[in-house]
Symmetry: C2
Subunit: 149 residues, 2 copies
DNA sequence: TATTGTTATACTCTATAACTATA
DNA sequence: TATAGTTATAGAGTATAACAATA
């Protein structure tokens, strides 16, 4: 029961190995935020990546309902990481944007992430790093193709 | 600002590529359980991997406090996936174990995971799959070394 | 008295449904 | 009336602190 023609065996191996990568990736966040939860961090990253956006669009990006997105914004606004502003043309459309404190927090998280991953990558040979990056890149590409069903 | 001598750039690339892997890995779970949340699934996997164990040890494995572990067990017991049993020698030590339904659910999740990952892996070339597996394996090894600080 | 587990309480996150205010 | 957002309510997950039972 080794290779056969299916990729079940490989899938198991890769899944197991992926766990450590996921853990290392997440650890950078834990370190930096401290006060901010993972969903809140995801929201901040989404706002940062897509510029000021409406609450509804934020919910779509996070795959959450409008009510959940609204609650998230409540808490982020309360801690001063996000700012709400009534829309100019359509006053129903509230737009949210990062405050300076929010931007600073994201920078910290990014730095912590890179530091953490970097430490581990530094312990790998250049060939191994290349293999990892190429494998992951191709996986991401294949996953994107598979998603277009 | 390209390669320099640090691995910051690589860390960013790998982090970004890892997200799709994480997503694909998680998707298998979503499909199979439906009714069971991610923390509950983690608990079931822990019980499965370490055999019948005490609530306290389960909490340690999940990196959760005893009270949280106890609540989790409440819900899993209520849905019939887990069974509690008072300890024989020490009656304070409640041991938890999987019910047949719990075991069945884990099998479903494992199958769904492998199917999902397998579909994507099938769209990659053998060389790419090899590169991914080797890269991940070495990463896991390096992460384990880095953890021994 | 120390340990194991549970219960009390509180906060975040999420969802469904009802409501408000625009348009 | 349709839409964007919010609020009401409820359940899951987790944490701190108080409590119960056993050792």
């Amino acid at each position: 029961m080794r290779h056969k023609d299916s990729h079940d065996w490989l899938a198991g191996e890769i899944g197991a190995a992926a766990e450590s990568l996921v853990l290392a990736w997440a650890r950078g966040e834990e370190q930096a935020h401290g006060t901010v939860s993972v969903p809140q961090l995801r929201a901040l990253f989404a706002v940062d990546a897509h510029g000021p956006l409406t609450v509804g669009r934020l919910g779509t990006l996070l795959d959450a309902l409008p009510s959940s997105a609204s609650r998230l914004c409540d808490r982020l606004e309360a801690t001063g990481l996000l700012a709400r502003q009534a829309g100019a043309s359509d006053r129903r459309a509230t737009t949210v944007s990062l405050t300076p404190a929010g931007r600073e927090l994201l920078d910290d998280v990014r730095r912590a992430r890179q530091r953490h991953l970097g430490e581990i990558l530094a312990a790998m040979s250049p060939e191994q790093r290349t293999a990892l990056l190429e494998g992951l890149t191709e996986f991401a590409r294949a996953a994107a193709r598979a998603n277009d069903d």
